[in-house]
């Protein structure tokens, strides 16, 4: 495992990352609560993935690089534009515009059909390479999702193409109730890279700086034309799978307790303290601001109007005659 010992990252960057991580957890909790109040649908909290998401996003260039998330990461991508969170709130409350993260944010919407986003990322990287664009694509998928054929097919093809793509396996120990030991006998998820002939590394995913460095290295390689990298970011899912899940049925409490010791927020807070960047007031201010930011997102989201006939738009660029007929019938009701 790459060690997360602190490096030359400037203090302001470290502070920005910590701010982002605190925000991510708060946003996630707020959305979770919205579901409990019947104001949002099923959603998956980020708890445990803050460091790896924020670390990765800081190592990328939002102007040229792309992020293709699974579903747990979107609350942590503030660096890629404030639209990401605003739209994710819409997504969670069930508004169709939630799937539309507007330009210039280079972030795809949540992917529910697991691992299908990996071929998309590889295709995108392939296209960027052909177009001689400067960036790369980074895709997140879970440990469980690595069992899907799409992951293997895409990672393998990425190798052949030397595509500028970074594949991040978020190993949080669980796929709903299924532990990684039921998922694979591979020594770890980085080992899977041997099947594709690409580099694979395991990173401490609770350490934002370690993640930052791993992604920065992979990005340098990708952009230099040296091809894809598989990064396994090891963490632990600190919350339930989603609002619909009861982890006490299957998560061993001692395992969870041990994982909480390595809570990514705590790890980063320690780094902040080590650098003399942390204070209670500072933390309170960050949280207050995040809270206000989230409040604005929710208020705007819930106020956003929606014509039910929107349901017929964007199926094609222009509706087929049949769809147009259905829309007319619907509106005549």
């Amino acid at each position: 495992m790459t060690d997360g010992a602190s490096t030359g990252l400037p203090d302001d960057v470290v502070t920005a990352m910590y701010t982002n991580m605190l925000g991510a957890r708060l946003f996630s909790q707020r959305i979770f609560n919205l579901q409990r109040q019947g104001r949002a649908g099923t959603n998956a909290p980020i708890d445990g993935s803050e460091a790896l998401v924020v670390g990765a996003s800081f190592a990328l260039d939002p102007e040229v690089d792309w992020i293709l998330p699974q579903y747990r990461e979107l609350v942590g991508l503030e660096r890629f534009g404030s639209d990401v969170l605003d739209r994710y709130v819409l997504y969670c409350i069930g508004h169709p515009d939630g799937g539309h993260i507007p330009e210039p944010a280079r972030v795809w919407p949540p992917q529910i059909s697991l691992a299908t986003q990996v071929p998309h990322a590889v295709g995108l990287a392939w296209g960027m390479k052909r177009a001689k664009e400067p960036g790369c694509a980074l895709v997140f998928l879970g440990d469980g999702s690595t069992s899907e054929g799409d992951f293997y097919e895409a990672a393998n093809f990425a190798g052949v193409l030397d595509a500028p793509v970074i594949i991040v396996v978020v190993n949080n120990g669980w796929a709903i109730s299924t532990p990684i030991t039921s998922q694979t006998r591979a020594k770890n998820f980085a080992e899977k890279s041997h099947a594709f002939g690409i580099p694979g590394i395991t990173v401490d995913g609770t350490d934002a700086i370690a993640m930052y460095e791993a992604v920065a290295d992979a990005r340098t390689r990708a952009i230099a034309g040296a091809g894809p990298t598989l990064i396994e970011a090891v963490t632990y899912r600190l919350g339930p799978h989603t609002t619909a899940d009861d982890p006490t049925r299957y998560v061993p409490s001692d395992e969870l307790a041990a994982a909480q010791e390595r809570d990514p927020i705590v790890v980063m807070r320690d780094e902040m303290k080590r650098r003399n960047l942390w204070s209670q007031e500072g933390e309170d201010a960050i949280l207050a601001e995040a809270d206000a930011r989230m409040e604005r997102a929710v208020v705007a989201g819930e106020a956003r109007s929606l014509d039910p006939a929107e349901m017929f738009n964007h199926v094609y660029d222009e509706p087929t005659p049949r769809l147009a007929r259905q829309r007319t019938e619907f509106q005549a009701k």
Partner: protein
């Protein structure tokens, strides 16, 4: 008993009856299934018969083929029908054909259970009604219970059937649908539609959760003096053509209700079947009520998308009002 309980009890009964029966899939063992349909099976039958698989639908379906060849009776679960797409090549290309390809050397007594259908604010690809995409594939049987009693009777038949069965469970009905479930062994044969309510002015043909909505529409219209028969197909392959013909002959007017998109949904096949075999009994065109030809939408739109009692009632009125 609700439908979920009926399914759970049936799985237990069949696993007790036949020790070749195996249940496997994502989160079915330790967690008892994300809806608890397989609750308690692991404790009862052990981890050789109740298995949490990796997250990979193609190999869930594909290993079922091999297990069957080894003499097992596989009852895999696909967590949501939308994710059966990942296994489509195994279901449509392999499971449906192995008997045919091998002239019955290999039997395929596989029952794939999977929930589907909308109305409960699930994320993308959790709500889609895909039965029509499977109905065009010879070799499969496709079963869609609409009551708890039928869930028991049809699941029992499915597990004992030596052919591959897609057993599609209405997500919205899991807990909402409650009825008297026969205790003890209970088998409902495939290909026998069920008359849910008697009626003579018009017949509404439906399956799965749309039966429940059609029943409500029928009850409502009874007050208006319209006598509505509701026919629950129960299985779309095999199809109870006789019951359809008989109902069309007696009522002359027909409504077909499906949750799936209009174009080439299974309602089209019902209409084609009526055209083939009961054309002269039709007093008016068949009315079809469907989801729209748009992808299943997100939460705030889904109640507009899925057929509801009002749309069914409107179609029924139109069917009876249309001139002969």
């Amino acid at each position: 008993m609700n439908m979920l309980e009926a399914i759970n009890h049936t799985l237990i009964a069949e696993m007790e009856r036949d020790e070749r029966v195996m249940v496997f899939g994502e989160d079915v063992a330790q967690n008892g299934g994300v809806f608890r349909a397989t609750e308690g099976l692991l404790e009862r039958f052990g981890d050789e018969r109740v298995v949490d698989t990796p997250l990979a639908e193609a190999v869930i379906a594909g290993t079922a083929v091999g297990l069957a060849a080894a003499g097992m009776v596989p009852v895999p679960e696909i967590q949501f029908l939308g994710f059966s797409y990942q296994a489509f090549h195994q279901i449509a290309g392999q499971i449906a054909r192995l008997r045919y390809r091998t002239r019955s050397r290999f039997e395929v007594p596989i029952t794939i259970r999977s929930p589907f259908g909308g109305g409960v604010r699930t994320p993308e690809l959790h709500s889609e009604s895909l039965e029509a995409q499977y109905a065009n594939i010879p070799g499969l049987k496709i079963v869609l219970p609409s009551s708890a009693a039928d869930a028991k009777g049809l699941l029992t038949t499915a597990i004992r059937d030596p052919n591959p069965v897609l057993f599609l469970e209405p997500l919205r009905g899991y807990r909402m649908i409650k009825d008297e479930v026969p205790t003890g062994e209970h088998l409902v044969p495939f290909g026998q539609a069920r008359t849910v309510t008697e009626g003579s002015d018009v017949v509404v043909i439906a399956w799965s959760f749309m039966v429940e909505l059609s029943r409500r529409a029928a009850a409502q219209l009874a007050d208006e003096g319209i006598s509505v028969r509701v026919l629950d197909l129960r299985t779309i392959v095999p199809l109870d053509t006789e019951a359809i013909i008989e109902a069309v002959e007696q009522c002359g007017r027909v409504v077909v209700v499906q949750e799936a998109p209009e174009t080439n949904g299974f309602a089209s096949e019902i209409i084609a079947t009526i055209n083939d075999q009961a054309f002269y009994s039709l007093e008016a065109p068949v009315q079809r009520v469907s989801g729209y030809d748009a992808p299943y939408p997100v939460g705030m739109l889904e109640d507009h998308y899925v057929p509801d009692v009002e749309r069914i009632s409107t179609a029924i009125r139109r069917a009876v009002e249309t001139e002969a």
